[in-house]
Symmetry: C2
């Protein structure tokens, strides 16, 4: 795995790296990206504030500014994500590796915490991460857990899932509780049916992974939630990262730790 | 000190209780209140997101709704604060005990965490709180610590101050770190001059309190910051609580604790 964040960023910017960013162990916080016109930004900002487990805000740019000054001042949100999704009228319209041609001066960028950030602390504590071991994207599922509504934005929470032995699940609760700004503690452990997931083998986003007999699924709120919510809406235009293809910030993982 | 939150609320609603709410030990979270027209709500919401130490958001209501459903569903923000301040064009225009006559259907209410919430946990750990012992409002000061700007909202952070013996100051850091949604850990300890405070005996808001020779001042980010910031702006109309005269929510203090 490449270790130099600048090399990875260059490779993403040139369009050479178009795969998921899971397992990049530079210690840099990875983030979800949502870009919206200013007119829709209030409802979305309110949605994030009302749903902090799914949408922990790391930064919100001023309209028209493509550089997130606080979290990654040497980057450009138009080129530095491996793969983007473009939604029009709530429908997925395109998947691209550069959004320079789609950029508008009234676009506001929301940088939202991502659970990939706490995967390194989990690994450091000897907890294996299945999708990394299997070279796949993390499995993500729509649940029946309703988000708090904001304007016309409403819909269920999306979760990411990591299968773990029970003793590792307990330790993972402790470790991830220290990282509230990157989704924090799990939202559910154990019974997928209880949160409306009927088949763990068929994730709504990302890839399926092996779950062994002695393991239980552990679910975290996921920053793909906004994409799912906008697909429930009639918002004209939204650009996001493609699930698992994250924006890499300058923030170090430990900067998110509390206590 | 009265212990029943409903009695206190009734008394506030009737206009009988018009004094500060510090030291009310019902275990209920107290909150700062900011009310703005919808057109100014985006900049203010962004200001809160960018300055979470000063403005930890507990709830944002929909426009025109005077009842904060999540934090205090049996209350009304128009009557349930002991004293309000009305700002027009950035200037303090009036101080009233009821804002029903000023209410407009496009008003958005921001319920913001208050450091009074962690005073009970401090007392429970045997740390005396001087302004409570002296029956005064907490002293608050404008600092030279700049807030992150949002739209035309900019200006320095306001802090509250509690004098403590050094060993209590250390314990207070530990205790308040558990309460990030009500300002969390201190922003400064010890030297007032280093954050632009020239005279602890002359607070910008609230009352002065005794500081003994064996004590150091401990400073927390304060929810009066928005009032100070709006006084720097040309925003037409804003209504807030009067400093120290807080909105009492249904949230219990321990609901804010992490780990």
């Amino acid at each position: 795995m490449a270790k130099d964040v600048n090399n990875i960023r260059q490779s993403i910017r040139k369009g050479e790296w178009t795969k998921p960013t899971t397992g990049i162990d530079t210690g840099n916080t990875q983030a979800n990206l949502v870009i919206l016109p200013k007119k829709d930004a209030y409802d979305f900002l309110l949605f994030c504030v009302r749903n902090p487990k799914s949408c922990p805000l790391l930064e919100v740019t001023d309209a028209g500014v493509p550089v997130p000054d606080k979290t990654a001042p040497d980057t450009d949100v138009r080129t530095d994500v491996p793969k983007y999704r473009i939604y029009k009228g709530g429908k997925l319209a395109d998947e691209v590796t550069d959004i320079t041609d789609f950029w508008s001066d009234d676009f506001v960028s929301f940088i939202i915490g991502c659970s990939f950030t706490f995967e390194k602390p989990l690994l450091d504590h000897g907890i294996p991460i299945r999708h990394i071991d299997e070279g796949r994207n993390v499995p993500m599922y729509r649940t029946n857990i309703p988000c708090e509504t904001a304007g016309e934005l409403s819909g269920p929470m999306v979760v990411s899932m990591r299968p773990m032995k029970p003793e590792n699940a307990i330790r993972a609760v402790q470790i991830t509780s220290r990282f509230p700004s990157v989704h924090g503690a799990p939202v559910h452990i154990g019974d997928p049916g209880a949160i409306g997931i009927t088949d763990l083998g068929k994730p709504d986003f990302g890839d399926d992974v092996t779950i062994n007999d002695d393991e239980i699924p552990v679910f975290w709120a996921c920053g793909v939630t906004p994409q799912s919510v906008v697909m429930n809406s009639t918002i004209d235009m939204m650009i996001t990262h493609a699930p698992g293809h994250m924006f890499i910030t300058d923030l170090k993982e430990e900067e998110h730790a509390v206590l």
